[in-house]
C-alpha cells in the first residue's frame, strides 16, 4: 500500500478545497493501492468529513496539528522553528520518517521548499530542489524548471536544473533524448548574464545531453524544446505571464462571441475546441508541481487551488509514487558522467 501525506490546512482555501479535492480524486480513480494520511485540525476535519464517506474509507489516519499557517521567513532556520506543529511540517515529517511515500501541500511555496529540503534532504550533487511544471506546447508537453523555488541561481544550480529536467522529461514524457534549452533574452551566445554564460559553457560539454543553447520566451511552447531551464524568478514570471495571457485571450474571445448572433452560433459550434484548449492550459488541471532533487516526493499545489486543483496535485503525487520517480531521477543523474562541481 502506497501512502500519501496531505496538508489539509494549506492554501488560500484550506480545508474547503483540500477535502473535496481528495474526495474527487478517490471517487474518480483506482485507489486500491493508495491510502491517505491527513494532517490538520482534527475537529475541523471531522466536521467536514461527514460529507465525504469515500474519503473516510481511504483515509488511513488523521493527525491533529495546529492550524497556524506557515509563511517563509528570511532565514530557513526560523521557518523550520516556526513550522513545527503545523499541518505542512507534520505532513512532510511523516514522509521523512518513512511513514508515507509523498506529501502534497497548497501552503506557502517558500516554506514548503525550506521544510522539504530540511526534512527530506536533497539527492547527491543537488544543492536545492527545483519546482517543476509540465506545460502544454504545440506538439505535446514541455518540462520547465525552476518556477519559483530559487529566485536567484548560480550557474551550477542552472546546470543541476538542466540535469533534473532532462531526467523528468525522460521519465514522465518518455523522451529518450530531450532537447534542453536555457531561457535567455536572445539566442546569440553573447546575450545574457555572466551566470547564464557560465551555465552555457558547462552544459555544452555534458555528454548525453541534447543541449540546444539559449532559447527565448517565444520558444517555450513552440514544440522545439522539451526542457526549459531558468532561475525561479524568470520562471515564475514567465509561467504567470502565460496564465495571464490565456485569461486575456479567453476574455477577449468571449466578449467578441457574445457581440452578435452569428458569432454566438459560431461559438456553440466550436465550443468543444475551446474546452479542450481550456483543459490543456487550465492551471488547476496542470496543478501539482513536484519539487525535484529531493530524496522523497513532495508536490506543491497552487496556493489558490480549488478542489479540482488539489485533486490533480494528488494525482501527480500518486503517479510519481507508482513510477518510483525519485530512484529514476537518481539513476538518471548517476548515468551522467559529468557532474557539476
Amino acid at each position: 500500500m502506497k501512502r500519501i501525506a496531505l496538508d489539509i490546512m494549506g492554501g488560500d482555501l484550506g480545508i474547503s478545497a483540500s477535502l473535496p479535492g481528495l474526495n474527487r480524486y478517490i471517487s474518480g480513480n483506482d485507489c486500491s493501492d493508495v491510502a491517505f494520511d491527513l494532517f490538520g485540525d482534527e475537529s475541523e476535519i471531522s466536521r467536514h468529513m461527514a460529507q465525504f464517506p469515500a474519503v473516510s474509507a481511504h483515509t488511513h489516519t488523521v493527525h491533529n496539528t495546529n492550524s497556524n499557517v506557515i509563511l517563509a521567513s528570511e532565514k530557513p532556520a526560523i521557518t523550520v522553528k516556526k513550522g513545527r506543529g503545523t499541518s505542512m511540517f507534520e505532513a512532510i515529517s511523516h514522509v521523512a520518517d518513512g511513514k508515507a511515500d509523498a506529501v502534497v501541500s497548497s501552503g506557502n511555496t517558500g516554506a514548503f521548499m525550506v521544510l522539504s529540503k530540511f526534512l527530506l534532504g536533497t539527492l547527491e550533487h543537488i544543492d536545492r530542489p527545483a519546482l517543476v511544471s509540465i506545460l502544454p506546447n504545440i506538439n505535446g508537453k514541455v518540462v520547465m524548471l525552476d518556477l519559483g523555488a530559487n529566485t536567484s541561481c548560480s550557474s551550477t544550480k542552472l546546470v543541476q536544473f538542466a540535469l533534473m529536467g532532462q531526467a523528468v522529461a525522460q521519465i514522465l514524457l518518455k523522451i529518450p533524448s530531450p532537447r534542453v534549452g536555457l531561457l535567455n533574452i536572445g539566442t546569440e551566445r553573447s546575450k545574457g548574464t555572466e551566470t547564464l554564460e557560465a551555465a552555457y559553457t558547462i552544459l555544452e560539454q555534458i555528454e548525453h545531453m541534447d543541449f540546444v543553447g539559449f532559447i527565448e520566451g517565444t520558444d517555450i511552447a513552440n514544440g522545439q524544446i522539451d526542457v526549459v531551464v531558468t532561475d525561479g524568478f524568470s520562471g515564475n514570471i514567465s509561467l504567470k505571464t502565460m496564465e495571464g495571457t490565456v485569461k486575456y485571450i479567453l476574455a477577449f474571445l468571449k466578449r467578441g462571441f457574445f457581440a452578435s448572433l452569428p458569432t454566438k452560433i459560431g461559438y456553440l459550434l466550436t465550443r468543444r475546441v475551446f474546452q479542450a484548449l481550456k483543459d490543456g492550459i487550465d492551471p488547476r488541471i496542470n496543478n501539482g508541481a513536484p519539487l525535484v532533487g529531493l530524496k522523497k516526493i513532495a508536490v506543491k499545489s497552487h496556493g489558490n487551488s480549488d478542489a479540482l486543483g488539489f485533486e490533480n496535485a494528488i494525482a501527480v503525487a500518486v503517479k510519481f509514487v507508482r513510477s518510483n520517480f525519485v530512484s529514476s531521477v537518481e539513476s538518471a543523474l548517476a548515468r551522467m558522467k559529468e557532474k557539476p562541481e
Copy 2:
C-alpha cells in the same frame, strides 16, 4: 516639416522589409507634414526604389552608408567605434545633429541602445533609456518597461522606469493617474529580491504616483494595472512568453477548428473575432518600441519585422514627433517633486 531618419539596412530582412514598410506607411497615411531621410547602401536603395514611386516622392535624402550590420559589443565604446559609418549610426547621428526629429531601426537592440544613448543623450535624472511597449489588456492598453535594454537593473533604475512609464501612460494612454505595479514573483511585500524591495520603498514614497505595489505575471493583462515596471531581463522574457503563448493558442485552435465540419463552420462565423484578437496582439501591429529617457525620439523595430511591422514602427515615430513626446515626458518628470538619487 517633420523628418524621420530611417535605418534601411537594419533587421533580419533589411531593405526588403523596410522599403515596402515605408511604402505602406506613405500610401496609407497623411504625410503632408512628414519627410523621410533614408540611411543605407545607396545603390541597393535605388535598385529597390523603382518599385515604390510614392516613397521617392516623400524621401528627402538618401544617405549612403556602408552595409555592415552592427551588433552590440561587450563594451559600449567598441560598439560606438565599430558602428561609425553604418546605417544605424548615421541615422541616429542625423537626429543628434538636429537634422531629423526621430530615428527608426530594426537593427540590433543592444547596439541601438548604446548608440542612441551615446549620440542623443539621456534626460536629466535618467541613467539609461528603457525600451517601452504598449500592450493590449482586458480593458484597453498597458505600458510595460523595460523590455530588454537593461538586463540587470538597480533599484534606482527601476524607479526611473516607473516615472517614465507613468509619463508615457499619461501622454499616450491619456490616463491622468496611471496605476503603476512592480513585477515580482508574488504580491506580498516580503517576496522578491533586495533590489525590488529597495525600489518598492522608494516608489511608495513618491507623491503623485498611484503605486499599487508588487504585481505578478498574471496581472500584466488583467486590466488592473496601467504601467508594468520590470528589469529588461524579466521584461523581455515576459513579453516573449506572451508572444509564444498567443502563437500556441492560435495553433491549437486552428488544429481544432479544422478537425470537423461543424467546427469549420463555427470558425467561419467567428472569424472576425479572431481577426480582431490577432490584430490586437500581433507583434507586427504592436511593433515600434520607443527608447524612453532620451533627449530625442528613437524607435526600435523588432529585429524580424516585415513590411507591416516596419510600417507600424514608423507610425509610432511619427505619432511621437507630432505629440512633442520628449518635452512632454521631460515636464512630466520635472513635475515629480521626489527624484531618485
